[in-house]
């Protein structure tokens, strides 16, 4: 197990370098970080050249990247547009987005697995057909549409939840945004669970469980469910990264000061350290989530042994 984790961590290094370099390339080579510092004003050429030198921007891109990563690993993510260190923005933003993601994941897992199991067990009946249709509709409505509409209906019209979130962003205020964020993933979780349940319900070991005279609820919870959840867990691993990245829309609609909000500000103001810094952390989160899921996979499926 330990060796497997080590090997996976080593395999992550090139992926990490590749992904961050790609973002670094987009921001530093395709954009112009210095011009961005001055906003609409044209920079004084001498000042611009000095800044370029200070930020190693006159060196080749790979060398800039190495400098940048060197700083990152010594804990220096650079300065945001308002003069704050990027790390300060991060310590404020990541807990908020983490809470938001937790709400979304809990929502999509609890409801998605329940709906998926129910419709999978009643394949082809009314409930199944309507759940399937509903998931398609949910997938088809982009988050920014459902977010705007739900914010208006639930937050403004019915007054059931605060339409915008305070900077502290406690869990209670994040319920509605979390639901919005998890909505599309909920549909995927439901469909995936359903497919998996349908396939496993036809498996021989379920027939054995029936032949053993077990009560139905025991067959479902003890035999069927655990096997069916294996692919769902895999999906979750990919989804955590996607949720944190996708939070940008939700956070914008509900004015949540999380990762997405800071990133969006960084992009609007073309503040390169903010953008690259946040994305770097997100890539790490994504990679670690995937590793975690692989390990969880081994717990759920004993046939898999890591060597």
């Amino acid at each position: 197990m330990g060796r497997y984790v080590l090997r996976r961590l080593l395999q992550m290094i090139p992926v990490f370098i590749g992904s961050t370099f790609l973002i670094f390339f987009m921001v530093y080579a395709l954009g112009d970080p210095v011009a961005a510092l001055f906003g609409d004003k044209a920079p004084d050429p001498a000042t611009a050249a000095r800044i370029r030198k200070d930020l190693y921007l006159d060196e080749p891109l790979w060398s800039q990247y190495v400098h940048y990563m060197g700083q990152v690993f010594s804990g220096d993510f650079g300065t945001a547009f308002n003069g704050q260190p990027v790390t300060e923005l991060m310590t404020g933003a990541f807990p908020v987005t983490l809470r938001l993601t937790v709400v979304a994941v809990v929502f999509e897992m609890a409801l998605g697995v329940t709906l998926g199991v129910l419709s999978g067990l009643r394949r082809g009946r009314g409930l199944d057909t309507s759940v399937l249709l509903l998931t398609l509709v949910v997938v088809a409505i982009p988050t920014f549409v459902s977010g705007t509409v739900l914010q208006f209906l639930v937050g403004v019209r019915w007054g059931l939840a605060p339409p915008s979130v305070s900077p502290e962003a406690p869990f209670t205020q994040l319920l509605l945004p979390g639901v919005v964020l998890g909505l599309v993933s909920l549909a995927y979780t439901t469909r995936l669970t359903r497919t998996s349940v349908v396939e496993n319900a036809r498996a021989d070991y379920v027939r054995t469980a029936v032949a053993k005279g077990l009560p139905r609820h025991r067959i479902v919870t003890r035999h069927l469910l655990r096997n069916s959840l294996i692919p769902v867990v895999t999906f979750l691993g990919i989804d955590i990264g996607a949720l944190m990245g996708g939070a940008i829309v939700t956070e914008r609609i509900f004015n949540i000061h999380g990762v997405g909000y800071q990133l969006y500000q960084g992009i609007l103001r073309q503040n390169s350290p903010t953008v690259v810094g946040f994305v770097t952390i997100l890539v790490i989160v994504f990679l670690l989530a995937n590793l975690l899921v692989d390990l969880l996979y081994a717990v759920l499926d004993p046939r898999i042994r890591y060597a």
């Binding site: 509709v137 996607a242 992009i267 994305v279």
Partner: protein, 340 residues
């Protein structure tokens, strides 16, 4: 962000281990173990698909495709979604067929007004006709969807197919490269990329989606080719001395293309949603291009006073995405008998 994850996982269930969403090592472990026993076929009625003397080899493309077409023609979901898509494509090419107004011309005195005779959807912030703009908005969405999917599918299936067929270092390199692109959340990548490439037309958006979309297709194509490659009839063709190129084109490609088509169809819908999201965030398409995403974005602040401004383009967008996803779903059901 909607991404066709489910299909991704579904299709890979039947495909090669490394194509799975999880770690390649984990999946291949399971594969070897299951390879020990007799092949696990889903329990189906033995007489459902009797051996067809005329149908050629089991798994031959002819049988699969004609069976699928037979199923699709009788599937109401397929017929409805195909008709909707046909309508949308027609409108995207000739919007003036059903809307004779000008999408750019507004009458500020009528800003945000509700439906009026001849203007069933009402007016937007600048007094432009929402109906006309909704109709003209189809063009951008459909263009982005179709071009991005075509690009990603072509690039992804060629790269993934070759990697699956030849294996070796090229395969390893491509898999790592795909991992790199997978490491970047697609929406974030889009924001960053499009904020520095500021043209506002559809082409940077298409280019970006192809850039971040191909790895998904390539994984599917790779897995599918690896699976088909192991079939007896392919082994037989190679043993009989068929060249690599011939084997790949004549024997493997027709049998491996089904999962790619399914994933690409569903991806098309999600690409349209992605474009709209990017436009909503202000980095995708920009005026004067008429786009549902832009219109929804400008309407979202006015949802209290003039909900019609938001609902019509949002409805059109959702309907379009839905049509493509449902089409993909129906095609998948038809092509993947395992899930019936």
């Amino acid at each position: 962000m909607p991404e066709p994850f489910e299909t991704h996982l579904d299709m890979t269930e039947a495909l090669a281990p490394a194509a799975g969403g999880g770690g390649p090592v984990a999946a291949s472990g399971a594969d070897t173990l299951q390879g020990g026993g007799p092949p696990r076929t889903p329990r189906r009625l033995p007489w459902r698909r009797p051996f067809r003397p005329g149908g050629g080899l089991p798994g031959s493309s002819r049988g699969l495709w004609s069976d699928a077409w037979h199923d699709l023609r009788r599937n109401p979901v397929f017929i409805v979604s195909a008709l909707v898509i046909l309508f949308l494509v027609t409108v995207a090419i000739w919007p003036q067929l059903i809307a004779d107004g000008n999408p750019y011309q507004g009458d500020l005195s009528k800003a945000q007004e509700g439906p009026a005779p001849g203007h069933p959807f009402g007016y937007d912030l600048q007094g432009r006709d929402v109906y006309t703009r909704t109709v003209y908005g189809a063009r951008a969405s459909i263009t982005v969807g179709i071009c991005a999917t075509a690009g990603a599918a072509l690039l992804g299936s060629v790269l993934g197919g070759l990697a699956g067929f030849f294996g070796g270092w090229w395969d390893a390199l491509l898999s790592r490269l795909a991992d790199v692109f997978f490491g970047i959340p697609i929406l974030l990548g889009g924001l960053v990329f499009l904020s520095v490439v500021t043209s506002g037309s559809v082409w940077p958006v298409v280019g970006f989606i192809v850039l971040l979309g191909w790895p998904q297709i390539s994984r599917i194509a790779r897995g599918s080719v690896v699976t088909v490659k192991q079939h007896d009839y392919v082994q037989a063709a190679r043993a009989l001395g068929a060249s690599s190129g011939r084997t790949l084109l004549r024997h493997i490609a027709p049998n491996a293309v089904a999962p790619v088509i399914v994933v690409a169809t569903i991806a098309l819908g999600t690409y349209i949603a992605l474009e709209a999201t990017l436009s909503f965030l202000g980095v995708g398409l920009k005026p004067p291009t008429v786009s549902w995403g832009i219109d929804i974005s400008s309407a979202s602040s006015q949802i209290r006073n003039a909900p019609h401004m938001l609902l019509w383009p949002a409805g059109a967008l959702s309907l379009t995405v839905l049509a493509f996803i449902m089409l993909g779903d129906a095609v998948r059901d038809a092509l993947d008998p395992k899930l019936r």
